[in-house]
Symmetry: C2
Subunit: 130 residues, 2 copies
Amino acid sequence: MLMPRRRPTSAQCPMDTILRRLMGPWTTYILWLLYSEGPLRFGAIKAKMPDISSKVLTDRLRDLESYGLINRDYRPSIPPSVTYSMTARANELHEVLEGLNMIALKWANEDAINQDQEHPMMEIMAETQN
Amino acid sequence: MLMPRRRPTSAQCPMDTILRRLMGPWTTYILWLLYSEGPLRFGAIKAKMPDISSKVLTDRLRDLESYGLINRDYRPSIPPSVTYSMTARANELHEVLEGLNMIALKWANEDAINQDQEHPMMEIMAETQN
DNA sequence: CTGTATCCGATATGATACTG
DNA sequence: CAGTATCATATCGGATACAG
């Protein structure tokens, strides 16, 4: 007897939910863009992510919107204009994203050193949110 | 002309890599277990995750190991014993995971209130790492 | 006890074309 | 400009059986 397929989840782990929302693929980068560059239009986001299709970008934006992480401002001009921005809730992620980014850069640097002793590119993406 | 299928990635976003490693499914919970309970044997982990199959648990453990986030201690006794534990690198995630967990709990609580005004279960999973 | 080996099917990404 | 519609296929989780 087949059970209806459940989504794999570790419901016991609160982080799991949040990570599923932050994660993938592209999602984090979208948040990062809005976070570091402020509100952006659909086309502007797409321009910064040349390899994403309209369909997937739309999907990801809809996901983020439904999670309450981004706002969608629609202006029915001709042609229409849609601008996306982070919500207050998403801004609560500030510290965490900052910490995650620092660790990510640190590890990337360490990995680079381990794989190639010659090019330990230590570019701290000194990102300024203030 | 078909291009070879690439994995979807936002290589520009350092966090993306790290989130792919932390994330799913089950991965976060495995880390959380090792983090909050200390080293555990394969069977002990599986016992705490009744819904995961051996295959997937093995996959996740191998992934985490290859990322340098967990150690695998193999004792060729009879029967064999394998114990998993977090690496020093994984412990660097402590602060971030703590922050993420707090946000996750906060949002889960807010969502519960919004969806049902009666059961705003505010259980702070007062997890103590010290 | 700690896994491997297969096979299957759900899901989601990607390409492409098209629209208000 | 900002999407939607369709279709193809890669990927990965899950079940089951088996092994050192």
